[in-house]
């Protein structure tokens, strides 16, 4: 297995009075796509937010490229080349599509070649270029959220439920986009409830339950073991398409 680009060791996170993560152990191998699976409330989103520094880990360590980033401010985590696409998409609704992307390209104006690739993958973004992003459909907003994350080269993408509420055609488009990123130099950690999507894309899988990581495996091995899926997720990938 490739060396871990990102690793979490014994990470605990409290949100107010609530103890959400109870010693999360996670390795995200360089250059692949790791799926983070688990039932609702398992702590998947909290894990991504803790990595980004949006919620502070109360114990344990988050390491990126060997460097301890547990105490880094969110902006500094992002500057290491980690992009985050939250479940809510968090596009800036009052800003145009263009302004959303200009803002996301922190090092300067977006590069023409990169924009061309984004438009080829998500043509709606070109069509609605000067439209306030709040007027886009749910699928288009998700495209914009992903485009914003990849408008510049990133080392690691953290994506929370990218297919939630999307039409099958758009999901297929997302799969192609993530494959393209995966084949490049980008490592992905994706939280997903759509198991068909997860199986088609994932190289490795980590399963969470009740704030803990309870299983880590290759996606092929996990997909082949229906009894394990049933035990960890309460359903099997074959029956949940």
């Amino acid at each position: 297995m490739a060396e871990a680009l990102l690793s979490l060791r014994g990470v605990e996170t409290h949100i107010g009075r609530y103890h959400i993560l109870h010693g999360v152990e996670l390795d995200v191998p360089q250059g692949g796509l790791t799926m983070l699976l688990g039932r609702n409330g398992a702590g998947k989103t909290t894990t991504l937010r803790t990595i980004m520094g949006l919620w502070r880990a109360s114990a344990g360590a988050v390491r990126f490229e060997g460097r301890d980033i547990t105490r880094l401010a969110t902006a500094d985590v992002a500057r290491l080349g980690i992009a985050y696409v939250p479940e809510s998409m968090a596009i800036f609704a009052d800003l145009t599509v263009q302004e959303n992307l200009v803002l996301a390209a922190r090092s300067g104006p977006p590069r023409a070649e990169r924009l061309d690739r984004i438009f080829a993958r998500f043509p709606a973004l070109r069509r609605f270029w000067t439209l306030p992003a709040g007027l886009l459909s749910g699928g288009q907003k998700q495209m914009l959220a992903v485009a914003r994350a990849i408008i510049e080269p990133r080392r690691l993408l953290l994506i929370d439920e990218p297919t939630k509420g999307l039409a099958p055609a758009i999901i297929a488009n997302m799969i192609d986009a993530f494959r393209e990123l995966k084949d490049g130099d980008t490592t992905l950690l994706v939280v997903e409830q759509n198991f068909a999507f997860a199986r088609r894309l994932g190289d490795t899988v980590t399963v969470m339950d009740d704030g803990r990581t309870v299983h880590h495996d290759t996606m092929d091995a996990f997909a082949a073991d229906q009894a394990l899926q049933q035990r960890l997720l309460g359903l099997s990938m074959d029956t949940h398409q």
Binding site: F92, D94, T96
Partner: protein, 356 residues
């Protein structure tokens, strides 16, 4: 795979045309946004509606200019507060302190430059007023910086505490103003160049109101350009919507917070200086008195929206002047009524800001 080396596109203006499509792609034409101009049309609609009620065109013009001038001065004072609320989610009841400090500092500088203020030379008058306004902005901005660091920062995200602590800050600031400048009101006389009126036929337009309109419009245009055409403006607008996501894009939004707070305080100082010259008296309560109007304006406009604040301020100024002329007894409550009507129509204000 995304290429490792890429060519740079020309700088993108925020309102620029869509870049070229990927080679070979023929899609449908770009879609253009339609601007929501209905709230903006309320201003001329209100002015036209008032014309037959006022009766005399000359009085109508005078009232309209007075309303616009008052509205624009309120806009200058309120614009910082609406941005502060939108970006930092801070209910700053202490904003009036910056207005009062601006008024006192400007009054002190102008009084110290008595001979120039009393001169018949326009240039000497301006030479006295300009540094007074500059000093008001600088000191209010500095006070804003200290206020944010000491009073506001510890209570980010806690609205009830914000109200209590900023209200307390306003009371303390008022008392400190009395300690420094004394408890009596300061009487200020406008310089000769800003006294009197332009007479056009039957219409008399006060010179000072023209200046107030000009300053207010300049502030509005500069703010619109800064917010719409610069990266820092993009950051502020994005931060108003979702500061967490701005952080996640790699920007240290805390610095933007402080910058906006200081600029908002400086604008309050500018507004205080203009208001002091408008009222020709300065008291420690000058800021607190105008805060009611400011809150009405930012609520009408939509909390966090500079454009909404502009339209709301004009409506408040015009309604105050028209109602004050037509039915003085109800003038006091006219702006509350205006706010209620606007909120019945648009509960989030004229230009609601999208929120996370």
């Amino acid at each position: 795979m995304m290429p490792a080396t890429e060519t740079t596109s020309p700088p993108l203006r925020p309102s620029g045309a869509p870049p070229h499509a990927a080679r070979g792609e023929e899609g449908p034409p770009p879609v253009r946004a339609r601007r929501d101009i209905v709230p903006l049309l309320l201003v001329p609609a209100l002015m036209l509606a008032a014309l037959p009620l006022v009766g005399s065109p000359a009085s109508w013009v005078t009232l309209s200019v007075a309303g616009l001038a008052m509205g624009l001065m309120i806009f200058v004072m309120a614009s910082g507060l609406t941005l502060t609320f939108g970006l930092m989610d801070v209910l700053n009841f202490g904003h009036g302190a910056f207005i009062a400090v601006g008024a006192f500092v400007a009054a002190s500088v102008m009084l110290a430059m008595g001979p120039w203020m009393g001169s018949d030379s326009l240039w000497l008058n301006l030479a006295a007023v300009a540094p007074a306004i500059l000093a008001a902005m600088v000191l209010s901005g500095l006070l804003g910086w200290g206020f944010e660091r000491v009073i506001v920062k510890p209570v980010y995200g806690q609205h009830l505490k914000q109200i209590l602590v900023t209200m307390g800050g306003l009371i303390v600031a008022e008392q400190l103003l009395k300690v420094v400048w004394g408890p009596d009101q300061i009487t200020l006389t406008r310089p000769p160049a800003l006294r009197g009126a332009f007479i056009i036929g039957d219409v008399a337009i006060e010179k000072y109101r023209v200046l107030a309109v000009a300053v207010g419009l300049v502030v509005f245009v500069v703010m619109q350009l800064a917010l719409g055409r610069t990266r820092i403006g993009l950051l502020v607008r994005a931060g108003v919507e979702n500061s967490e996501m701005v952080e996640a894009l790699g920007y240290r939004i805390g610095r933007v917070f402080v910058g906006v707070f200081v600029v908002g305080s400086a604008l309050a100082g500018l507004g205080g200086a203009l208001w002091a010259l408008y009222q020709e008296t300065v008291t420690a309560a000058i800021g607190a008195q105008v805060m009611v109007l400011i809150f009405i304006v930012i609520i009408i406009g939509g909390l966090g929206s500079v454009g909404g604040c502009f339209v709301g301020a004009l409506l408040v100024g015009l309604v105050a002047n028209y109602i004050g002329f037509l039915a003085p007894k109800v003038a006091l409550g006219s702006n509350i009524l205006l706010m209620a009507l606007v909120l019945l129509w648009r509960p989030q204000g004229l230009y609601p800001v999208a929120r996370r």
